[in-house]
Symmetry: C2
Subunit: 180 residues, 2 copies
């Protein structure tokens, strides 16, 4: 977010067709909950387009890119690396250390697909479990980002949006973004 | 969770095939993040089986059921109803009221699929947006539950599990649940 070291989310692994929606949801969740960028495997072009479309309509800044080199992104990251996995340390035990590190330098958050090689566990500064239960990589990412930013992401403002949703007790209200 | 009024999650709408993984992830996220029960549309039997399988292996208590009457579940709910929607009031503005209500009575959390009729907006005590941005119903549910329970769900203990994951800084460790 603005005035903070970058947070990027790396989707590690994607099976076209089967994973399209999950990978798209990883990207949209990264955007909505305060990350600055999502990096997708190069076979996830369809998800990239959807996330770019939403960014065009509802605002940014938010970047989407594809990579051929998932391991290279991790290895060459200049900052700290968190890998979200149900086998990792409990988020409630390590989140304070991670917040402190992120105050100083960029953070890469790796979100696994089906098979994550041991190299990723070893390359991460923290392997973190949002519960040690099997659930959803999208849910894990969401809770992790909300805790990383301590809720600040919910007050984020959006630039260059076409549309803006006006929060309502009942009903739906969407206005052009320049109407205030 | 134990010693608290019930929290049930209702998945409103399901398209077999296309929504299988999302509906399964809604169920698994509900279980992992402290809800007591998930209610799925009656055409989501495949997702029910997956969630029941995980509950058998990693523990409960957690109930999964199917319903033919999504609107009836909302109408007949004895307690308060929250509907998660990007058009709703900001979660950070209403969460304290919802926590207070849940201290007294059961809470139904409605998670939409594609098309949610206006009846649901009207039947809810709160329409709540986890951001007013388009992202993922799984992400919205996850952040909502983590805030509802104020993180207590992360310390939940599991009964009748076959397996237990031991949190680790690096690597994977799963032990039979009776080994302490």
């Amino acid at each position: 977010m603005h005035n903070e070291p970058e947070v990027a989310v790396l989707r590690y692994g994607h099976r076209p067709g089967r994973d399209d929606r999950m990978t798209t949801h990883v990207g949209l969740t990264a955007r909505a909950l305060g990350a600055d960028r999502v990096i997708l495997p190069d076979n996830a072009g369809h998800s990239m387009e959807t996330v770019e479309d939403i960014t065009g309509r509802f605002g940014g800044p938010f970047e989407v890119e594809l990579t051929e080199a998932l391991n290279g992104v991790i290895r060459n990251w200049e900052g700290k690396v968190v890998h979200l996995t149900m086998y990792g340390e409990r988020v409630q035990d390590v989140e304070a250390d991670i917040r402190e590190a992120h105050a100083e330098e960029p953070l890469l958050v790796v979100v696994g697909g089906e098979k994550v090689p041991f190299e990723v566990y070893e390359g991460a500064d923290w392997n973190v479990g949002v519960t040690n239960q099997p659930h959803s990589e999208v849910a894990g990412l969401a809770v992790f980002l909300d805790r990383l930013f301590d809720g600040r992401e919910l007050d984020r403002e959006w630039e260059d949006a076409e549309n803006r949703v006006v929060p309502m007790a009942t009903g739906k209200k969407v206005v052009p973004a320049d109407e205030e």
